[in-house]
Assembly symmetry: C2
Homo-oligomer: 355 residues x 2
DNA sequence: AGTGCAATTGACAGCGCTTTCATTTGAAAC
DNA sequence: GTTTCAAATGAAAGCGCTGTCAATTGCACT
């Protein structure tokens, strides 16, 4: 039963024997319509299967109830939680989130921003701080709240919540150093600007501690996978058999490194310590469980959404703090814990919080 | 520099000294405007940072360039690839995909359908075939192409591409049976209707082969995780220490089962065979690599998008086949391969295709 | 110069809704 | 039975754009 024409406000109005305005009010501001008419209208709505045309509504009211969100990836377990947190906040406020996945491409991001702005979103939430000049310009011109998340910058477009990935990378190395390791490798997928920051932090720490990273870094331009983690670590192992520890720019690579060790009969943590990044769910489940640097991705998404909501629906005032550093936490687990600390059969976590 | 008012078509027209229609044409149908004017208009557009109001455009032209997509989850590595495939097809046609994540809730799905239809999408792509009556009604009334994916039904709303999860579950058991296993366990997360189908297939196979599943099934109402895989399989192991094989409703649970085995010193595949579902990337990377039943998720997303595109932009004709069974493939790897088949150090895959 | 025709350009209406303001209604108060 | 005022309803305009059709222009050809 394909209708030629979907029911409109006027159709409902005719059916209920009232004027279109009244129908509009019955839907948007029920308290302004008498009970009698409201019921008649509700019936008409139901019997016609009327669904308001959001485009027309938004055009007329200057309220789109849309917020644009741009993420660099979805294959990476990180952004699911983050996105879900954002959606949870907005769905309660009847705001539709328009998500675009730009696959770590600044160019695609620019295009996505342009497209999204065409929908007149009431705010934009972005990942990272590396937008192109053009992107920044468009966002500024749009005159809406903009939140840059998951990273920090000295020069935010508007609001900013995140953490220093450079510091996190530094801390990971510092932690491994504190366990007595000196030959500390690093696996990383460039392409993700935040991974690059972690790499920079790794390098800074190695330099600071007077350790050489020669031959200890393996990187790939591709999206990271577990398989790639194996391959990258295999490279390092072949080059530097004496490596004592490895810090991976994310947990997929770390899990790959762990598997490569299993394959080669390298004992973790006795022969080699592994530290991942993001603290995805599987870190606590592997054997041994993986030590990982955790970030507050859910908290960041939530904060971004809540602040946007407050600005566009609330008092309209900017929040007290326009920039928030959520820090990071090293979840110390079996993959790096010195033997005497390890409790057999337990997958306990010892957390070191840094913010 | 927050503008009071974003530039409109008229603003551009004034600036370029032409009528608004001409600007509209210069943007939508450049070939209909003389080169001279086109340049003047382009300049005006650029200098004003003009971005067409998509809402107004869609309202006037009855072309929204929106396709609604509803997924039950994003945390599950399955839907990333699927979504990406859909987006890839549509982005080339300048169609914006409106994604909603309904977290395996039919109620949320119904609400999402209602909301999305308010945007007048030109088509809808859904996961699964278990929509509520109300949802089906709304979709039918909308008079747009609807694709149900990743599962099959005798009574599709419109187009349908997927596979029989019951058959896939049956095949997994049949495969393990062919290796000589009889005590075959099953781990599953109900909540996902397709997992339930796989469970049904498992049960059907066990019955058919005259095998008892008593005490061999562990299920959870929660979203599956690796951790949960460990816990569920631990339950089974504690109950039935003699279990010879386990078929898991997805790869996360399978990886968890593998870790649980590692923890307990159970050798895989010598002491126990493991089969997962979905063939996610990490399956080929673990030690031993995980045998998994793979589905054509990318292909399904692509087919759905391409057919929609053909219908709404092309000849308008329905495709030849309104229902497609993409089948499934058992990727046989080390976690189930009999010792004499296993090639040390190789992570080769032997595929058995069923469609 | 005049005719014919295609290529450009513009005027106008309207997409489906909300906002604003005017009108009507009803019930309380005189 | 008026008057008064709030509550309920409606009429008209317009959000920013595009489709349709009419008007204009340019140019080749007589």
């Amino acid at each position: 039963m394909t209708r030629k024409h979907r029911a409109t406000l006027s159709d409902v109005a005719s059916k209920a024997g009232v004027s279109p305005v009244t129908v509009s009010r019955a839907i948007r501001h029920p308290e302004m319509v008498s009970k009698k008419l409201r019921e008649r209208i509700d019936n008409a709505v139901r019997s016609l299967g009327y669904i308001p045309n959001h485009l027309a509504s938004a055009l007329a009211s200057h309220r789109t109830n849309i917020v644009g969100v741009i993420v660099p990836s979805l294959t990476n377990g990180v952004f699911d939680d983050y996105l879900a947190a954002i959606q949870d906040v907005f769905s309660l406020a009847n705001i539709q989130v328009l998500v675009t996945n730009v696959r770590y491409s600044a160019e695609k991001e620019e295009k996505a921003i342009n497209t999204l702005l065409g929908y007149h979103p009431e705010a934009m939430i972005l990942v990272g701080v590396d937008q192109t000049d053009n992107s920044r310009q468009m966002l500024t011109n749009a005159g809406i709240p903009v939140v840059q998340t998951l990273d920090l910058t000295d020069n935010p477009i508007d609001l900013n919540i995140g953490l220093s990935h450079d510091d996190a990378g530094y801390a990971a190395v510092e932690y491994l150093r504190s366990l007595g390791h000196e030959s500390i490798a690093h696996l990383t997928a460039r392409g993700d600007p935040r991974s690059q920051q972690r790499h920079a932090g790794y390098q800074r720490a190695m330099d600071t501690f007077g350790l050489s990273s020669e031959g200890l870094v393996a990187l790939t331009p591709r999206i990271s996978t577990v398989q790639l983690g194996r391959r990258l670590f295999a490279e390092v192992l072949d080059r530097q058999p004496g490596v004592e520890a490895v810090f991976c720019c994310n947990d997929d690579l770390a899990l790959g490194a762990l598997f490569e060790c299993q394959q080669r009969g390298i004992r973790v943590p006795e022969d080699l310590a592994i530290v991942g990044f993001n603290d995805l769910e599987f870190c606590a489940a592997s054997v041994p469980p993986l030590t990982s640097v955790g970030t507050e991705r859910i908290q960041m998404g939530k904060w971004a959404a809540q602040n946007v909501l407050e600005i566009i629906r609330g008092s309209g005032q900017r929040p007290d703090k326009c920039q928030v550093n959520t820090g990071f936490t090293i979840h110390e687990r079996g993959s790096s814990m010195p033997a005497h600390k390890t409790v057999h059969g337990t997958r306990g976590t010892k957390a070191r919080v840094v913010s």
